[in-house]
Symmetry: C2
Subunit: 171 residues, 2 copies
């Protein structure tokens, strides 16, 4: 399986991982998200090789997640900044952080977030967009969406059918 095969998969998780699914890209994006916007600053903060940082930034720019903005010409110098798409992707970083806060730092995390609207330190939770209640694994069940393809993913189709059958028994 080559690197190229991920984006072709009919799976939202796989396609998102094609953008940030390696050891460094998510951390690069984290730095940009909190305002570390220059090549050398990111490289110094993360300690990754300059070659790989160049590749990763180009990859993020290619996917429209980050933009490269010149802050001077002669010689050209650049800031890297989040786009709207990048801000959506930052929700993934938030989820990564929440998990790490809980399981790697035992609730005493290095970074906290203040919600400007209410002024409190906030640990966001996923909530149902219909009823507003928090959603945890087990509170919702997966089913075929509009673009599901049984032929392309028979193992997934089986798993979905089993889940549907199990829920029917309970209901």
């Amino acid at each position: 399986m080559q690197r190229a095969s991920l984006p072709d998969q009919p799976c939202s998780v796989a396609r998102t991982l094609d953008i940030i699914g390696d050891r460094w890209t998510a951390l690069v994006l984290r730095d940009i998200a909190i305002g570390i916007s220059r090549f050398d600053a990111i490289q110094g903060d993360l300690g990754l090789s300059r070659k790989v940082l160049t590749q990763r930034l180009a990859h993020l720019v290619d996917h429209g997640v980050v933009v490269r903005v010149a802050y001077q010409d002669n010689p050209p110098r650049y800031d890297y900044r989040m786009t709207e798409k990048g801000n959506d992707l930052a929700m993934v970083l938030l989820a990564l952080q929440q998990f790490g806060d809980k399981w790697a730092f035992g609730g005493a995390p290095p970074i906290a977030w203040r919600h400007l609207a209410c002024g409190q330190i906030s640990t966001p939770v996923a909530c149902c967009d219909h009823c507003g209640e928090p959603v945890r694994p087990g509170d919702a069940i997966p089913l075929r969406g509009p673009s599901f393809d049984d032929q392309a993913a028979p193992a997934v189709a089986d798993a979905l059918d089993q889940i549907a059958a199990a829920v029917d028994v309970i209901v």
Copy 2:
């Protein structure tokens, strides 16, 4: 920078990425989360090499995210199942999926979720745990948490100070 250096970083995102931060582990976890629980089924669904799958499963088990449960002895055969910690990590998969649903499938995703409590198809949103309002990037600002270390991450400290200063100007 070696593979070993990630878990030592004082950063929740980095430590979580040490668990699922490569090309395959998140997809393996996704399969297990929807009930594809056996070695060959996962390997067949994802198409990754058996060697790498063996390594990734061992890694997930080491981190207590997944358990290996024998469903028969002689010869020993196993199911891989999510732990509580694994279910917390599944929130990251949910975030990955939401991004992919929106940006890679234009709102016609292959998998949808039915929220059992309210019966609706649900696209979970992150909400502040204090006021219950949705939180988007820009609605909250990062600041030093209990275990932040200025010496360890000077570039991050600078960025936090700049953000704090910018907010003060507005307020």
